[in-house]
């Protein structure tokens, strides 16, 4: 197996990934860090090749944007686990990491589970990503991203002030991403441990457990104080209701007023901004803004909703930003507020992020040649910038069986592939 191109921090690390929906992002991260990731698909291709959207809206196994996104940077082979277990054994024998998301019990039934394939492979790190872990009282349950986030906690905290509306699943497969991130953290931990003299081992990742510890205050309000947070539109679920923060700006796009002024200087700047736009007469509580300019130190967030005067001052700052935002385009409001030192944000759609001046300046959009459409396709780029071993998307996602010959060829010789 040739070494992975590029010089990422994981250069020389070989990963065999059994294609799945929920751990595909973990494999992509490892590939971006320089590991040689070979994704193994069943004959006919993995189910996610049928997930839309499709390039030019023409469905087909080589046109799934899901597949393109989650498998960029990997090589790909087709291998029938049911009939070609021996081939998998040989592939795994040269690997450092196996990443799989098979339902608990399936690999054992095929005689291909980690306890069997790790025998004689002292250093092999085997990572299983499953809905509820490999064993335990709920390991037989089935899940999707939606049910993971609903049953694991995040959904309870997301949605609208109006509780006759259902709570909301945060979009974009975040239940899968959450499990994948924990899987990569643990995998790299095991690699470091092995490099320092440890052995290989089995890593058991529970998507349900991962969601449970990715809820911020919802969990520790309960653990520490026995209190239950309640969801609110566009802001932190909380025990004590807070003011609205999301505002529709003059161009119809959203902003979040984030952390409103909390120091005397910030209140002075907001008053100055109101004057500059001629909007001072549109705020109801100018007197509290003036009081804000007398604050000593920083207004403590946890007094908001507790101390009446501080609450009124805080609210007046938020209202002033709301008034300003409704008179400016969203991105202009965001940039100007930030230049005044106020942590506000514009609610950008993904397509606005990829073209945004800041992301472009950091080299975040990454073009990859994509033969199916005969042009380069822009992908999201590096999650962080490493000075010595940069993250890199080395290739577009593999076509079905694209690397069969170069990866499996040398392994076939001793045992001819059926057919």
């Amino acid at each position: 197996m040739p070494a992975a191109p590029g010089g990422g921090p994981l250069a020389g690390i070989r990963v065999v990934e059994l294609a799945s929906e929920h751990a595909a992002f973990a494999g992509k991260l490892l590939a971006g860090l320089g590991a040689d990731v070979v994704v193994v698909e069943p004959p006919g291709g993995h189910a996610s090749r049928a997930f839309g959207p499709f390039a030019d809206d023409r469905p087909g196994p080589e046109r799934s944007l899901w597949w393109w996104h989650y498998n960029a940077g990997k090589r790909g082979v087709v291998l029938d686990l049911e009939a070609e277990g021996e081939l998998l054994r040989r592939l795994v024998a040269g690997a450092d990491v196996v990443l799989e998301g098979e339902p608990p019990g399936r690999l054992a039934a095929l005689g291909l589970d980690h306890d069997v394939l790790r025998a004689g492979e002292e250093g092999l790190i085997w990572v299983s990503v499953t809905p509820f872990g490999r064993d335990g009282p709920r390991s037989g349950e089935v899940a999707t991203d939606l049910t993971v986030l609903a049953g694991g906690g995040p959904v309870w905290s997301c949605g609208y002030d109006d509780h006759s509306l259902p709570p909301v699943r945060g979009g974009g497969n975040q239940g899968y991403h959450t499990a994948s991130l924990w899987a990569v953290m643990a995998t790299l931990t095991a690699v470091v441990n092995r490099d320092l003299g440890g052995s290989g081992q089995h890593l058991d990742v529970s998507m349900h457990a991962a969601a449970n510890v990715t809820t911020e205050a919802a969990t520790y309000e309960w653990l520490v104080a026995g209190r239950t947070v309640q969801r609110q539109t566009g802001r932190h679920a909380a025990v004590t209701p807070s003011m609205n923060v999301n505002v529709v700006a003059a161009d119809g796009r959203g902003i979040t007023s984030g952390v409103p002024p909390r120091t005397a200087e910030q209140f002075r700047r907001v008053l100055g901004w109101l004057d500059e736009l001629g909007l001072r007469d549109q705020v109801d509580d100018e007197v509290f803004l003036e009081m804000g300019t007398q604050i000593e130190g920083v207004l403590p967030l946890w007094e908001v909703g507790v101390d009446p005067e501080l609450t009124a001052i805080f609210a007046a700052g938020r209202q002033a930003l709301t008034v300003i935002a409704t008179h400016l385009p969203a991105e202009e409001f965001f940039v100007q507020a930030q230049r005044l030192g106020l942590a506000c944000g514009a609610i950008l759609a993904p397509e606005e992020v990829i073209g945004n001046e800041h992301f472009v300046a950091r080299g975040f959009p990454v073009p990859l040649p994509q033969s199916e459409v005969g042009r380069d396709v822009v992908h999201p780029g590096a999650p962080f910038r490493m000075s010595a071993t940069p993250w890199r998307l080395s290739r577009p996602a593999p076509r079905l069986g694209e690397h069969d010959a170069e990866v499996l060829g040398p392994l076939w010789a001793p045992a001819r592939r059926p057919g």
Partner: protein
């Protein structure tokens, strides 16, 4: 006591816990992080056995991290040693104080860095430079240091000086926009999702750089922007724009309780019996639907137009009404249980109490370890959602009190004597 391990719950006797080999034993992290987006990263490293030394400011009494004195609290007491979130995010770490405004403080920090493998920080861009702890200055005392800087927009680019917290990051990276109900304003995230994953990506950066250092002897600097990291979590919907020119900002979007990628129906959060009670149901394919229809056993589920995915997607509103009509009078756990028994993905929308107190899966996992805090008493905290068969995690120690480990670190690691430590105290350096 607290423990990790499949079988060992929070109250299991300690003799049943096998001797532990820590995965990251021997690694030292000099930690200037705070909040969750930074502290969460070093929390993971500490749970895996790294020695994480959290450096705090004695002048502002740890005020770099607003969570130190922030709620939740265990009782009516308030103060910098009583913040529940701070305790949660800083378990298993040591805590020291160093006044970095003083030259003596900077010297002390550099001595500590000279014997550290990793420096982590998540100040606003530029702060570490002003403190005399830039990458070049640290590299001068520790050439192979792994230096990971995490900020809202990173160290370069036009937004580098901008300030963020989780909701700002989420807004500016596309995640907020992706979350909401059809034809309503975005709902976004009801918590700092990207503080969790700012921490996840930061831990990944540290570990990846350590892999490289351990193999080559070369350290490096990592510039992490939480908004860049967050933008990697938008995928197929972003390519729909870069490939097909179709923006997500279009009528009817976002619609994140439904699923078109992959196409699934029914796929929604439905009302159940009781106040603010809901159940999530997802049929991955026609076979799931067939199983659901069998479990439901009512005529509406046997309508021919619902038999195929295309039919169900085309009549999604009718389908949602029909499913909601069936779930609305039923207990959310009973619905989920019935469908799971039939092999259909379903889950009650759980409240914190449900999943923390009454879920056999989180209990069996040991997901809520207990730490003994000198001021707060016994407190449960988040565990780790991965078990490692040879070198599992451990969370037993509470977050450090301010300067709790000054003697252990400055005398035990740096070799200062009691007189030198007393002098540093007297000068306000620690």
């Amino acid at each position: 006591m607290a423990t990790a391990g499949h079988a060992a719950g929070a109250d299991a006797p300690s003799h049943e816990v096998p001797p532990r080999r820590a995965a990251l034993a021997g690694l030292r992290v000099c930690d200037f992080t705070g909040q969750l987006a930074g502290a969460g990263a070093t929390r993971f490293l500490a749970a895996m056995g790294a020695q994480v030394i959290r450096v705090e400011d004695p002048v502002r009494r740890g005020g770099w991290d607003i969570l130190r004195g922030a709620p939740p609290f265990v009782d009516e007491r308030r103060g910098i040693e009583l913040g529940g979130a701070f305790n949660n995010h800083n378990v298993e770490k040591l805590g020291v104080t160093v006044n970095l405004r003083t030259e003596a403080g900077r010297r002390l920090a550099r001595r500590l860095l000279a014997v550290s493998d990793v420096l982590t920080e998540n100040f606003a861009a530029g702060v570490m430079d002003r403190l005399g702890l830039s990458y070049d200055e640290v590299r001068a005392v520790r050439p192979d240091i792994v230096y990971v800087a995490n900020s809202g927009f990173g160290a370069t680019g036009p937004y580098a000086p901008f300030k963020t917290w989780g909701p700002i990051v989420q807004a500016c990276c596309g995640l907020t926009f992706e979350s909401g109900l059809r034809d309503l304003p975005t709902a976004g995230w009801g918590f700092s999702y990207m503080d969790h994953h700012g921490a996840s990506f930061m831990a990944i950066a540290v570990l990846a750089a350590l892999v490289h250092r351990n193999r080559t002897g070369e350290g490096q600097y990592v510039d992490m922007s939480c908004t860049d990291a967050g933008a990697t979590l938008t995928g197929p919907e972003l390519l729909d724009f870069t490939v097909n020119g179709r923006p997500l900002r279009r009528p009817g979007m976002p619609d994140s309780n439904h699923s078109t990628s992959p196409a699934m129906a029914p796929h929604n959060i439905y009302p159940a019996a009781g106040d603010d009670a809901w159940v999530a149901i997802a049929c991955r394919d026609d076979a799931d639907w067939e199983r659901l229809a069998g479990a439901v056993g009512e005529g509406w589920a046997r309508q021919p137009r619902f038999a195929t995915l295309a039919g169900r997607m085309g009549a999604e509103d009718d389908l949602d009404r029909a499913v909601a009509g069936w779930t609305a009078g039923r207990d959310r756990f009973a619905v989920a249980g019935l469908l799971q028994q039939a092999g259909v993905p379903a889950a009650a929308v759980t409240r914190p109490e449900d999943r923390i107190e009454h879920d056999p899966a989180t209990a069996a996992w040991g997901l809520w370890p207990v730490v003994e805090h000198p001021e707060m008493g016994r407190v449960r905290v988040d565990g780790i959602p991965v078990h490692l068969s040879a070198t599992d995690w451990r969370i037993e120690r509470a977050a450090p009190l301010l300067g709790q480990h000054n003697r252990e670190v400055f005398c035990g690691i740096l070799g200062l004597d009691e007189g030198e430590l007393a002098a540093l105290r007297a000068e306000g350096v620690v």
